[in-house]
Structures are given as structure tokens and as C-alpha cells.
Amino acid sequence: MAKPYDLRRYPGFFAITLLCLVILYAPLVVVAVYSFNDSPSITIWEGFSLRWYVDVFTGPESGKFKEAAWNSFIIAITAATTATIIATLAATAVLRAGTFRLRTVSIGLISLPLMVPEIVTAVATLIFFNAIAIERGLMTILLAHIAFCIPFAYLPISARMQGIEATYEQAAMDLYATKRQAFTRILLPLMMPGIMSGFILAFIISLDDFIITNFVKGAGVETLPTAIFGAVKQGIKPNIMAISTLLLAVSIVMVALSWLIGRRDPAKGR
């Protein structure tokens, strides 16, 4: 029997969706598969092996990559934590402190890094550090990362706060809680899922950044993306594919984590 006429359905759309998913995943899957190739060539398949993963941790370039990974991690943790705190305070002022003249300006300032093309931010930040004569190094990378992480932390935090009614804090204060207590005991705990999502998003964005880091880093200071970029410029090698696959795994773990946190979210679940 023929299906009833469904006017939402358009022939070919399902096929295009599948094509879309294939395009999105094919390059990643191919690199992940070839990272297990037991061959110094990136073209010929010579059987399954973990040798390039061993190479990443113990090979001749392992020192360089370990240091870069450590730098990336320290910067991402510090930048994401700072940005999350700044974003949480700012969201409280924007959503729960009434209307005031600088409110719109503040919202614009917070979304500014999202509107300016990344390469322009990179140039501006480099010129700024040059103009005030700060030596480029880990510190300059960290400062730049804190700034562009703020809007990414802010988005889930502000979305979450809009989902929490002000009546909870009102009730607490009717029962003689101070404003400080209402904030730390009521609002912050309710905000936790949003704050965690904001932190994870900021962490990933910091870990991901290449362009701004490449501009503001000092000579000899590398993060994982700049180290990988430097290596790729000499040609794609199997150890790069192993590192890429490891980073891919980290990203997927982070996504899964944020998804689980989102599911625990009482506002979304039932």
C-alpha cells in the first residue's frame, strides 16, 4: 500500500542529509583509520599497528609535542576558568540587575569578539602587545584567549539564566537571606549546568584556536595547534595523524560530557 501523501516530505532530502553526514565524517574517519597504518608512508596500507601512537609519546618529536600539549592544556584551563567567572558575573548584571544605560553597550562589548573576523582580532592583539611593549610568550597567549573565550562562555550561561525564574531568589530573600546568600546559595547552584557548559565550550574554543595564538605567541612557544601546523607545513606524516586522532578523541569525550551534563539539567529533562 502506498504511504499517505505527506506534504512535509520532499524527495531527495533524506539522500542529501546522508550525503551531508558522509561529507562531515569521511575526512575524520579516514585520518583516524590511517593513523593505525603500520607504514611510514601515508598512502599505502600495510596493516594495523599502534606504532605511530608509540612514536607520539616516545619518538624523536615527542618532547616538542608534550610541551605543546602541556601549554595548550594550561592555557585552556586557565582561560576557560577566568572567562567563565567573568561571563557568569556579567550575565547576572545583564539579566538580573534591572535596566540601566550601559546594559546594551555591555551586551555589545561581550558579543564583539564574535563579530570581528578572527584574523582581525589576531592582528589587533599583536599590534596592541607591540604598542605597550609586552614581550610575547605564554602570558600574551593566555590574555588573548581569555578575551575571545568570554562570549562563548557567556552564551550557555545566559541561556540557562533566562530559564531560571527570579522567584527562587525572591523567596529566599523573603525568608531573610541576604542578596549575597541568594546569589551563592540559590542562583549559582541552579546555574551549574549552564556554567559547566560554558566552561567546556570555552575550553574547547581555547584548545582549538590557531590563528590568534599564531600571531601572539612568542618565538619558540608552541601550543598543540601551532606545533601541528608547523609539522604539517613539512607534509602530512603518520605521527601527525595519530596526534590528530587523539585530539579528535578528546573533543568527542568533551562533547559527550557536555551532553551528559545537559541531560541532567532539570530545566530540560522531565
Partner: protein, 306 residues
């Protein structure tokens, strides 16, 4: 990204009214000092004189903009002609970003529409599938694309193995490779806003049109697409803007003939022969273009909301 729209939201209470300056101070200081002030200083630098080994001499000069738009001959004493090199690079960037946006729209719209018409319980999973690649490092995605597309790579091997082609397509280092790279980088940005728009679309409108004997594709063209237009425009902006100033895709997937704005700017700062005022001026021109685009978009969406 639509101005304050994404980050705004209505005021919910006045609970922390007295503390608002204190609460906003960290954001003002950080973003004012590390985002706004640098943009101002960049504007100043674009009007300074270049130092030959990078950096600037603090002397007012219009040389950077003059070099961008005019050709005054080798010794700078000929009557000015229009300099097409840099305008050409900007034009190519616009074209490349436009092609990537079109490609994203052709694939992204049907995908978003399909996802939005799934049963409610399934939609989150489909959206999740489309967004996972966005969480993966952009550099790694671009390198993966190059690995897949290169002449000895799996794509060409596969097609040759199937007997579809007899020699490699030679995609890498062409405009097409850059377009594919940009398309791949920002495809999820096209899907998400369109999905959100189609999900809000009232399908009773489609039914009404169909009851009045509109054929299926006329319903799509005359009813669905106009209704979800804000989502489509938002998706196009979200793909076009980052594509315009991108550096990784043209640098890794392209060659000398695919030089884009991002590479032009990078060259002024990372090499030894860099010209900082010129790089700052090119950045200002790019920023102005993007802000004009965003302003048109913001005005358009305000008009449609009203």
C-alpha cells in the same frame, strides 16, 4: 550573532541592581583592554609609517591605504593608477566565500529541513550528529580534508579503483579545494539556524497551500522558503563571514593562485619583510566590510520582526 539578539535577553529582575557595576567590571576591563582597545590601536597603526623590519615609525602617513588602492609605479612618481592586485585578492576572497556559502546552502538547507521534520524525539540526535564535527579542531579538520582530497589520497584511489576516473582529479591547490575546505569548516553553521527556523514553521501553511492546489515544489518555493528566510540569511552570514577572513583553508588546501585576504594579512606580520601599517589597513578594510554586512543583516531582521 545578530547583534545583541544572541547574547541579549529580557531583564528578569532587579535583585543585584547595586552590584551591577562590580559584576560588569571584569568583563568591561578584559574586553575593553584586550578587544576594543587593540582595534582602536590597529586603526591608528594603519595610518603610521612602516618600519622596514616589522613594526612602525610613529609618523602619520596614508601610504598603507594608498598602496592598497593605487599604483604609482616603481619609484612612486608616476600618476596614480588603480592598483588591482589587492582589490583582486579581496574580490577572490568574496567569490570563494560566496561559493562556499552557496555549496553549504545547497547541502545544508535540505539537511536542516529533513531534521526539522523528524519526529520530535529524534531531532536532538540528528542535530547532535551534525554538530559533533564542529567540536573537532578546525586545523585537524582542514588537514583531514587535504589528506582525503590529495592526488594519492583515498578519494582518488577509491574513484580510480571503481573505474570512475583513470587519473587523479588534481583537486588540491585549486579554487575548488579551498571552497570545499571552507564549506567543510562551516557547514554546521548553515544547518543550525535553518533548522531552528523550520522547526518553528507552521506546517498548516503548507497544508493550506496544498489544499488550494499548489504543487509540492511550489509550496516549498512560495511558502516554506519565504517563511524561513531569516534562518537562511543567518546561516549564510555565519558561513560567509568566517570564510571571508579564513586563513587555514586557503593556506593548507590552496596554492599561490588561491591567495585570500587572510593570507595577505598574515604575510604582513609573520614574515620579515612585513608591512605592519599595510596589514593593519587591510584588516580595517576587511573589518569594515564585515560590519557593514552585519548591520544590513541586523536592520533586515529588525524589519522582518516588526
Amino acid at each position: 550573532m545578530a547583534g545583541g539578539g544572541a547574547t541579549g535577553g529580557a531583564v528578569q529582575s532587579e535583585t543585584y541592581r547595586e552590584a551591577r557595576t562590580l559584576l560588569l567590571l571584569p568583563a568591561w576591563v578584559t574586553l575593553g583592554l584586550l578587544t576594543l582597545a587593540p582595534l582602536m590601536i590597529m586603526l591608528v597603526y594603519s595610518f603610521l609609517t612602516k618600519e622596514f623590519r616589522g613594526g612602525v615609525i610613529w609618523e602619520f602617513s596614508l601610504d598603507a591605504y594608498d598602496q592598497f588602492f593605487f599604483d604609482r609605479g616603481l619609484f612612486g612618481d608616476e600618476p596614480p593608477k588603480i592598483e588591482w592586485t589587492y582589490i583582486g585578492i579581496f574580490w577572490r576572497s568574496i567569490w570563494q566565500a560566496g561559493a562556499a556559502t552557496t555549496l553549504s546552502l545547497l547541502i545544508g538547507f535540505p539537511t536542516a529541513y529533513f531534521i526539522a521534520t523528524r519526529p520530535e524525539g529524534q531531532r536532538a540526535l540528528w542535530v547532535f550528529l551534525v554538530t559533533i564535527p564542529y567540536w573537532v579542531n578546525l586545523l585537524i579538520r582542514t588537514v583531514s580534508m587535504k589528506f582525503l582530497l590529495r592526488d594519492e589520497g583515498p578519494l582518488n584511489d577509491g574513484l580510480i579503483g571503481l573505474g570512475i576516473i583513470s587519473e587523479p582529479l588534481g583537486i588540491v591547490n585549486t579554487n575548488l579545494a579551498v571552497q570545499l575546505g571552507l564549506f567543510y569548516s562551516y557547514l554546521p553553521f548553515m544547518v543550525l539556524p535553518i533548522y531552528a527556523a523550520v522547526e518553528r514553521y507552521n506546517f498548516a501553511l503548507s497544508e493550506a497551500a496544498s489544499d488550494l492546489y499548489a504543487p509540492r515544489w511550489a509550496v516549498m518555493r512560495r511558502i516554506v522558503i519565504p517563511s524561513v528566510k531569516p534562518g537562511i540569511i543567518a546561516g549564510c552570514i555565519l558561513v560567509f563571514v568566517p570564510s571571508l577572513g579564513s586563513f587555514l583553508a586557503p593556506d593548507l588546501l590552496g596554492g599561490a593562485k588561491t591567495f585570500m585576504i587572510g593570507s595577505l594579512i598574515e604575510e604582513q606580520f609573520k614574515g620579515n619583510a612585513g608591512n605592519w601599517p599595510f596589514g593593519a589597513a587591510a584588516s580595517m578594510i576587511l573589518l569594515t566590510m564585515v560590519l557593514i554586512l552585519l548591520m544590513i543583516f541586523a536592520r533586515q531582521s529588525r524589519k522582518e520582526a516588526a
